[in-house]
Amino acid sequence: MGHTKLDLLQGTLDLMVLQTLASMGPLHGYGIARRIEQASGDEVLLNQGTIYASLVRLQQRGWISAEWGTSDNNRKAKFYSITKRGRKQLTEDAAYWQRLSTVMDRVLALPGEEVEP
C-alpha cells in the first residue's frame, strides 16, 4: 500500500451505506462493508465494525429497515434495506455532496502559485 487510506469525513459513511443499499438492494452488514470497500477501490480506511454503528443510527432515523434472512452461503444474517424516507434523504444528501464537491473542485482549480507543487 503506497499511500495512507482516506479517513472518512463525518456523515459520509451513512451516505455511503444508503447509496449502497439503494443501488444493490437488501444486504447484510458484511456485504455493505465489502461493497463500500470495493466501490472506493480500497481507498477508504473502513473499520468494518463502524458499519454497525452507522446501521443502528440509520435504522433509528427510519431511513433503513432490517430483517433476518439467509445469506447466499446459507448463514442466518440480518439484511438491511433502504426505506422510502431513506431514499428521499439519500437524494438530498447526495445533491448536497455533489454541490459541495463541485464547489471544492472549482475552488481548488483556481490558479495560484502557493498550490503549485
Binding site: H28, G29, Y30, G31, A33, R34, N47, Q48, G49, T50, Y52, A53, S54, V56, R57, Q59, Q60, R61, G62, S71, N73, R75, K76, A77, K78, T83, R85
Partner: protein
C-alpha cells in the same frame, strides 16, 4: 404517521430490549466474521490467517460492540434531546402561537369530553339496571292507528299472566307510581312513591347504597311494612342522615320501617321511596283502586332473553294478551298488537336524537380545532416547501370555514327555534298564573257534591284576596292539557279513525282566568256547575275537525273514556253550548288538539288543580292561599304550587334550552377557532409575499393597491369557503329538522346571518395582515430572502 409512530417506538424500545438487541448484535458480528473468513479462505488464506484478517478488518469485536452501543444510546438520547430542544425553542420563540394552538385544542377536546360524558350517561348507558340493553317496556297498540300506543300500563293480573306464561323474557316486573300522604312532625304532605312487584329487586339488580334491598318476603302477608328511600329524597328530606335506616315513617297512615337508601343513579319513576306490592297484599290506599279494578295501573318492564328478536317477543306476549281480552274487554281495542321497545327509547326518547346530533356537532368542532392547529403548524415552520404549506393551509382553512358555517347555521336555527318557543303565543297569557294540585285524602271528597261545596267556598275566598284577578279549578294543567279520550261519539257522525279529544272539567271562572275568548254560543256558567248539567264548551279545533262547515252548538258529544272510569257518568252525552278560541293543550310544541270543557261537577273522581290569575308575582301568594284553603278545610293538601311559567319551564323549555346552550357554545367557540385559523394563514401568506409586495411598492404601487391585492386573496378564500359551506349546509340541514320547532330548517335568518357573521370575521382576519403588508418597507422587503 404510522412510520413516525413506529420510529418513536423504536427509539424507546432499546430501553426495554437492551438484552435482546445485544444478542442480535452478537449474532450479527458472528455472521460478519464468518462471512469474512469464508471470503478470505476463498482467497487462499489459511484458516488461522483468515480469521486474523477478518478480525482486523472488523476492527475488533469488543470495539465494534462498544461503538454500536454508544451509537445506539447516543442516537436515542440525541434524538430525544433534539426533539425536546426543538419543542422548547418553538414554545419560547412563538409563545403566542403555542397559546393559540393549545387553546384551540383544549377547547375542542374539553368540550367534546363534556358532551361525550353526557352522551354516555344519557344515551349509551342511561340506566344502572342489570342488562339494561335487554330491558323492554311493553304496551298495547291499536291496529287502527299504529303510530299511537293504546296503553303502556296493565292490570296487575295481566302482568302476572305475562310473567308466568311468556317464553321470551327472563323476567317481567310491574311498577307504578304511588302518591301518598306522609305525616312528619305534625305536617302532612304528599310523597311520590313507587310500588313494584316483589321480583323487582332481583330484576333491576341495583344494590342499595345504604341498608338492605327490598326482598320478596317483605311482600308476604303479615310482613312488617318497610320502605326503601330514593337518594334525592333522602338528601332533601333527611339531609343524608345515615341513621335514618331503621327509623319509622308514617306513610299512608301506616308506620313503615326505613330499610335502606338507593344510590343516586337508581331513579326509577323519580320516586321518593320504593315499596313492594303483590297480588294478595295490597297497600291500603290502593285497595280501592285494585278492588275497583282501576283500568290502567302498572307499567310492565321485561328483560328479554338473549337472542330473542323483537317480533318473537311481541308475538309471544300477544298470544297471552289474547287470552286476557275476555277478562278486560274494555282495555283492548278490537284489533291490537303488543309492542315491546327498548327502555331507553321509552324513557330517553327524542333526547337521544338531540344527543346524537350534538355529538356530531362536537366532532365537527374538534375537527375544526385540530385542522386549525394543523394549518397553523403548516404555515408556521415549513420553510422548505413554502408554497405547498401555504396551499394546504389555505385548503385546510377553507374546509374549516365550511364546517364553521355549517355550525353557525345550525346554531342559528337552534337559537331561532328557542326564541320561537319562548316567545310563542300559546293562546292564553302565561304571566302571573298560579297553579297547584289539591290532593283529597280519604273518601271525604269522593262525591261531586262535596267537591262542589269545597271549591265554591275555596274559589270565592281566593278570589276575594286583594291582588287576585280570578280563580278556577280544573283537572289538568293549561297548555300541558287535561285528560284525553281516545275516541268520542257524536250522534249522526260515525267515523273509522279515532277522534281523540282532551277534555277538561272546570269551574265557571276557567275561561276568564286563562283569558280564552268566546267565539260562539256561551260559556260554562255557575248555573251549569251547581246541577252538573251535561253541557260542553269546545275549542275551535274540535269544532273545525269534527263539525266542518257546521254549527256544533246544540250537538251532542260523548267522551268514551268516561265509560271506563269508575265513578264517572257512563254513556253520558254532553250538549255543546259554546266555542272558545284555541290555546295550546298538548304542550307548546305540538299543534292544538280538539278539546272540550265540561262543568267540574260532572263527577267527583280524583284530585283537582286550582288556577289563580294574580296581579303580581304569584309566588308571593302561596302562603296566603295555603291559609285560606286550610280555613275552608285543613284536610285537602295543596301540593306542587308553581307558576304556569315555572311549569312550562320544567316541561317545555328544558330541551330547547339544553340545545340552545350546547349548540350555542359550539357555535361560540367555533368562530373564534375559525378566526384563529384564517388569521394564521393570512398572516403567513402576507409574510411569504413580503418580497413581491416590496417590489410592487418600489415600482410605485400605492398602499391601497397592496391592501386590495392582499384583501382580494382573503376574500376569495372566505367567499369560496362560504359558498361551499352554504351548499353543504343546505344539503345537511334536513337532519336538524327534528331538533327545531317554529322555524323552517331553511330559515332565511340563519342562512343569511351566519354567512354574514363569518364573512365579517373572515374579513377582519384578512384585514390585519393586509394592513401590515402595506407597511412593508420596500428596502427591507427587497433585501429579504
Amino acid at each position: 404517521m404510522i412510520d413516525r409512530l413506529r420510529q418513536s417506538l423504536q427509539r424507546f424500545l432499546p430501553l426495554f430490549r437492551r438484552a435482546r438487541l445485544d444478542q442480535e448484535l452478537d449474532a450479527e458480528v458472528a455472521v460478519h466474521l464468518d462471512l469474512a473468513i469464508d471470503e478470505n479462505r476463498e482467497n487462499g488464506m489459511s484458516a488461522e490467517e483468515a480469521r486474523r484478517q477478518a478480525l482486523i478488518q472488523l476492527g475488533g469485536i469488543a470495539q465494534t460492540k462498544e461503538n454500536y452501543r454508544d451509537h445506539r444510546g447516543i442516537a436515542w438520547l440525541e434524538t430525544l434531546f433534539r426533539d425536546l430542544r426543538f419543542a422548547l425553542r418553538m414554545l419560547r420563540k412563538s409563545s403566542g402561537f403555542c397559546v393559540v394552538a393549545i387553546l384551540a385544542l383544549a377547547l375542542g377536546i374539553g368540550f367534546s369530553s363534556i358532551v361525550f360524558s353526557i352522551f354516555y350517561n344519557g344515551v349509551l348507558n342511561p340506566f344502572p339496571y342489570r342488562d339494561a340493553n335487554r330491558l323492554r317496556a311493553i304496551s298495547v297498540m291499536d291496529d287502527r292507528d299504529a303510530t299511537k300506543q293504546f296503553r303502556p300500563v296493565f292490570h296487575l293480573d295481566e302482568i302476572v299472566a305475562f310473567r308466568k306464561q311468556n317464553h321470551t323474557f327472563e323476567d317481567i316486573v310491574g311498577v307504578s307510581s304511588w302518591d301518598v300522604l306522609y305525616a312528619r312532625n305534625g305536617v302532612t304532605g304528599l310523597v311520590h312513591g313507587c310500588v313494584m312487584t316483589p321480583n323487582a329487586t332481583e330484576f333491576y339488580g341495583v344494590p342499595p347504597m345504604l341498608g338492605r334491598s327490598l326482598m320478596e318476603r317483605d311482600a308476604q302477608p303479615g310482613a312488617d311494612p318497610v320502605v326503601l328511600l330514593g337518594y334525592e329524597y333522602w338528601k332533601k328530606e333527611f339531609q343524608q342522615d345515615k341513621s335514618v335506616v331503621g327509623k319509622t315513617m308514617i306513610i299512608d297512615n301506616q308506620a313503615r320501617t326505613v330499610i335502606g337508601v338507593m344510590p343516586p343513579r337508581f331513579y326509577l319513576f323519580g320516586a321518593d321511596f320504593y315499596a313492594l306490592i303483590s297480588g294478595d297484599r295490597t297497600e291500603p290506599s290502593m285497595a280501592d283502586a285494585m278492588a275497583n279494578n282501576a283500568p290502567y295501573f302498572f307499567f310492565p318492564n321485561g328483560i328479554l332473553k338473549k337472542g330473542i328478536s323483537r317480533d318473537t317477543a311481541n308475538a309471544d306476549l300477544f298470544a297471552i294478551a289474547q287470552r286476557l281480552v275476555p277478562l278486560h274487554k274494555d282495555d283492548y281495542p278490537e284489533k291490537f298488537h303488543i309492542n315491546t321497545r327498548g327502555f331507553s327509547d321509552a324513557i330517553v326518547g327524542d333526547f337521544k336524537q338531540t344527543m346524537f346530533f350534538l355529538i356530531g356537532v362536537v366532532a365537527l368542532l374538534l375537527l375544526i380545532s385540530s385542522s386549525n392547529v394543523a394549518s397553523l403548524l403548516l404555515t408556521h415552520h415549513s420553510a422548505r416547501a413554502k408554497l405547498i404549506a401555504l396551499r394546504s393551509a389555505l385548503g385546510a382553512s377553507r374546509g374549516c370555514l365550511i364546517r364553521q358555517l355549517l355550525l353557525l347555521v345550525f346554531a342559528g336555527l337552534v337559537i331561532r327555534s328557542f326564541i320561537a318557543i319562548t316567545n310563542f303565543d300559546p293562546g292564553i297569557s302565561t304571566k302571573n298564573m298560579f297553579v297547584a294540585d289539591i290532593h283529597f285524602p280519604g273518601h271525604q271528597y269522593d262525591s261531586a257534591e262535596s267537591k262542589r261545596a269545597y271549591f265554591e267556598q275555596a274559589l270565592a275566598r281566593i278570589s276575594a284576596i286583594p291582588g287576585v284577578v280570578s280563580a278556577a279549578t280544573a283537572l289538568g294543567w293549561p297548555i300541558e292539557g287535561g285528560p284525553r279520550t281516545e275516541d268520542v261519539t257524536i250522534p249522526g257522525k260515525p267515523h273509522d279513525k279515532h277522534w281523540t279529544t282532551s277534555f277538561e272539567a272546570c269551574s265557571e271562572g276557567y275561561f276568564q282566568t286563562l283569558g280564552s275568548r268566546l267565539l260562539r254560543g256561551r260559556l260554562i256558567s255557575s248555573s251549569d256547575v251547581a246541577p252538573a248539567r251535561r253541557i260542553a264548551v269546545v275549542n275551535q279545533t274540535l269544532s273545525d275537525q269534527y263539525f266542518p262547515n257546521q254549527n256544533p252548538i246544540g250537538q251532542q258529544i260523548k267522551f268514551n273514556v268516561l265509560d271506563q272510569i269508575p265513578g264517572t257518568p257512563h254513556d253520558a252525552y254532553f250538549e255543546i253550548v259554546g266555542i272558545v278560541s284555541d290555546f295550546r293543550n298538548v304542550g307548546l310544541q305540538q299543534s292544538v288538539q280538539p278539546e272540550a270543557f265540561v262543568p267540574y261537577t260532572f263527577s267527583g273522581f280524583g284530585d283537582r288543580n286550582i288556577l289563580v290569575r294574580t296581579a303580581a308575582n304569584p309566588n308571593l301568594f302561596v302562603n296566603t292561599f295555603r291559609q285560606v284553603l286550610a280555613d275552608v278545610d285543613p284536610n285537602p293538601i295543596l301540593s306542587h304550587p308553581d307558576t304556569l311559567e315555572g311549569l312550562l319551564h320544567t316541561h317545555e323549555y328544558v330541551k330547547p334550552k339544553f340545545r340552545l346552550i350546547s349548540f350555542g357554545t359550539c357555535a361560540g367557540i367555533g368562530p373564534g377557532l375559525a378566526l384563529i385559523g384564517l388569521f394564521g394563514v393570512m398572516s403567513y401568506s402576507v409574510a411569504l409575499q413580503t418580497q413581491e409586495l416590496g417590489v410592487r411598492m418600489a415600482l410605485g404601487a400605492q398602499r391601497s393597491d397592496i391592501l386590495t391585492l392582499v384583501l382580494r386573496k382573503g376574500v376569495l378564500l372566505v367567499g369560496n369557503g362560504l359558498f361551499l359551506g352554504l351548499l353543504v349546509a343546505f344539503l345537511s340541514v334536513r337532519i336538524l329538522q327534528s331538533q327545531l320547532w317554529g322555524v323552517s330548517a331553511f330559515d332565511p335568518g340563519a342562512f343569511v346571518l351566519a354567512p354574514l357573521a363569518l364573512l365579517a370575521a373572515g374579513l377582519l382576519a384578512c384585514y390585519l395582515p393586509a394592513r401590515r403588508a402595506t407597511r412593508v418597507d420596500p428596502l427591507v422587503a427587497l433585501r429579504y430572502e
